[in-house]
Symmetry: C2
Subunit: 190 residues, 2 copies
DNA sequence: TTCCTAAATCATAACCGTTAGTGTTACGGT
DNA sequence: ACCGTAACACTAACGGTTATGATTTAGGAA
């Protein structure tokens, strides 16, 4: 079952996308996000502005390239867990992995840049809201859960909160411990 | 001690601000938020575009005029509660009042408009994040609370989540009941 | 009153992210 | 070899926002 998607067209398209993303991130880190315009990125990547926007929906999206990944990982942590594996620890494991990935040394300059730009911070937050909504959908649809739809949607938001709070905490691991204790209690009361 | 802030200048400024807000809301409801430009609002209110932006930080801010109010009410629900009054019920009362105010008949067309515009929905969410942060600050500073700073910040976000979830629920009161049961459990576990 | 300062407003033009309109190239199936 | 179409390019615009600098006007001081 070899992957049939090895056309030259798709390779070129992926290469263009990657070149744009790489160029953008490099320029942003060199000169600062707000000091680099879309026209600068397009020129440096040697593509038209319209091409750039056919690959990325917005300037902020150039920075958050892996987001869809996050969304899938969260819903998979729900749908792909063992038959009688409890929900909250599974979610906790996934969130912890994400936090560790984003607070690692490699991501440090990027998150310094994000914190420095209001537009990027707001985009990140609205991204998280999307993640919460898709997680909520997955929870509501799970037949193994006996909780109400409201409880599922609530827990979805709480879990995303845990990510955000841990991410900005001085000690992310300790914060996650504490927050997930609270989430567990909230989940079990229903 | 008569209030010395009764200058003609301040009255005129307030009048200008109000005229802009009223005109904007009227046009938005008549023609739709996205179909009305800033230049339209300014022309109809008979002010310069720069004057409009000296009163409101953005186009979206024209719609959410009472927000600072919300922020104050939340922090006052914390700082202004009785000496031994428990925290969560006080917060719950305030959130319930806000939800009822925003789901009342008078606010229905406005919230229909907000739901119809992506920009307004995102602005509302980033507004709520600000509210969560100022609530978190109030909680951390409260000497009557023995919980950790992390727990305080977590509960602040949970409370704002409650508002958002109840607001979009089919039965806001029932949703608030359920969500605040969860919040109570999360708070007491710490 | 008269004058001075600072606040409020104005008019214009620009900036920047984003999109529409309109081609042009070149990949891939037939 | 041919044709449909996906990817890309170019130009120009749109709309929110900001910079610039002038002009008016409130309100206190001389």
């Amino acid at each position: 079952m070899t992957v049939p998607t090895t056309g030259r067209r798709e390779r070129k398209k992926a290469a263009t996308r990657q070149k744009i993303a790489d160029t953008a991130l490099r320029l942003f880190l060199e000169r600062g996000y707000d000091a680099v315009g879309i026209r600068d990125v397009a020129a440096e990547a040697d593509v038209a502005v319209t091409t750039l926007f056919s690959h990325f929906a917005s300037k902020e999206a150039l920075v958050f390239e892996q987001d869809e990944n996050f969304e899938q990982r969260l819903t998979q942590a729900v749908t792909g867990r063992g038959p009688h594996e409890p929900l909250i620890p599974a979610l906790r494991r996934e969130i912890q992995a994400m936090v560790r990935h984003c607070t690692g040394d490699g991501a440090a300059p990027i998150y310094r840049m994000i914190d420095a730009s209001r537009a990027l911070r707001e985009y990140e937050e609205s991204m998280r809201l999307r993640h919460a909504e898709s997680l909520a959908t997955a929870l509501v649809a799970d037949p193994d859960l006996s909780q109400s739809a409201t409880a599922c949607r609530t827990i979805a938001r709480f879990v995303i909160d845990a990510y955000a709070l841990a991410h900005e905490a001085a000690d992310p691991d300790a914060a996650l411990d504490e927050i997930f204790q609270m989430i567990e209690a909230a989940w079990e009361v229903t």
